[in-house]
């Protein structure tokens, strides 16, 4: 006897971003934008260093770390020496290069990406505890942010059938 399961489509994704490097923030943004473009509801929760992505002063200055990342390579594929990654200006240079590569693929800067997501009905939230830790106020946050939440408030939004929580 064959048993058939009918797969129900995903309805909602709740994405938690706790880190502030380019790859972590963009993973969140690409997943969220991809969701709303497919008609899937998206709730974004930024916490700890992830808050940089929705802090006006930092959001368009995020970087990728050049230290402690074994997958980091020189253009051309040679290993990226850790000592080079520690030199002043290298992290900024590498980050600028990554951003220019992304721009070529039509991946927008953080602020514009967040606007695209909220234009599609996605919602952006900040973590209250992390805000307190980093001494941030609501006026420090990107204007499209829907509010500051406790973990409990966030979980309350993650209910419903076919909802997934994703931690980037």
């Amino acid at each position: 006897m064959k048993s058939e399961t009918i797969e129900k489509p995903l309805k909602k994704v709740c994405i938690i971003c706790a880190k502030g490097s380019i790859e972590d923030v963009y993973a969140t943004l690409v997943l969220a934008n991809g969701a709303v473009m497919e008609g899937i509801e998206a709730k974004l929760f930024f916490t700890f260093f992830g808050l940089d992505a929705i802090t006006v002063k930092q959001m368009n200055k995020i970087r990728t770390g050049t230290l402690g990342n074994p997958a980091m390579r020189m253009p051309g594929g040679l290993p990226f020496p850790s000592l080079l990654g520690a030199m002043p200006g290298v992290e900024a240079g590498v980050s600028a290069m990554m951003k220019s590569q992304m721009e070529k693929l039509d991946i927008p800067p953080v602020g514009e990406f967040l606007e695209m997501i909220t234009a599609g009905g996605g919602e952006v939230y900040a973590c209250k505890l992390a805000m307190d830790m980093f001494k941030l106020e609501e006026e420090d946050l990107w204007e499209g942010c829907s509010g500051v939440l406790t973990v409990g408030d966030f979980y309350a939004m993650c209910g419903g059938e076919n909802t997934q929580i994703i931690f980037t």
Partner: protein
């Protein structure tokens, strides 16, 4: 692959319902594909569809960002015109292949 007769013209659709041959497209086909998606086309819809077709003909890979910067409609407007799938439904109704971009 399936074939379908719309307004007297037989067209080939792929498994996801996209036109196989963009040159078979016309307004009646657009209206029928839109109806199946639950969308009633207006003049604004057609402006977007024409833009998408022009871009496709020019070989430009489509992203939602590009459409938002086209001057025809902003991103919010595109979501309003094609709810639940701004790029996938608009490209389907425009008779062009489904964009392969993640943005």
């Amino acid at each position: 692959m399936t074939s379908k007769t719309i307004a007297g013209l037989t067209v080939q659709l792929n498994d996801e319902g996209y036109l196989k041959d963009p040159s078979q497209w016309n307004r009646e086909i657009a209206e029928e594909l839109a109806r199946e998606t639950g969308i009633e086309l207006t003049g604004k819809h057609f402006e977007v569809l024409e833009y998408l077709r022009e871009q496709h003909a020019a070989g430009v890979p489509l992203t939602i960002r590009k459409v938002g910067k086209s001057g025809i409609v902003d991103i919010k407007g595109l979501y309003t015109l094609f709810p639940g799938g701004p790029l996938k439904y608009s490209s389907k109704i425009a008779g062009i292949p489904k964009p392969v971009s993640c943005v």
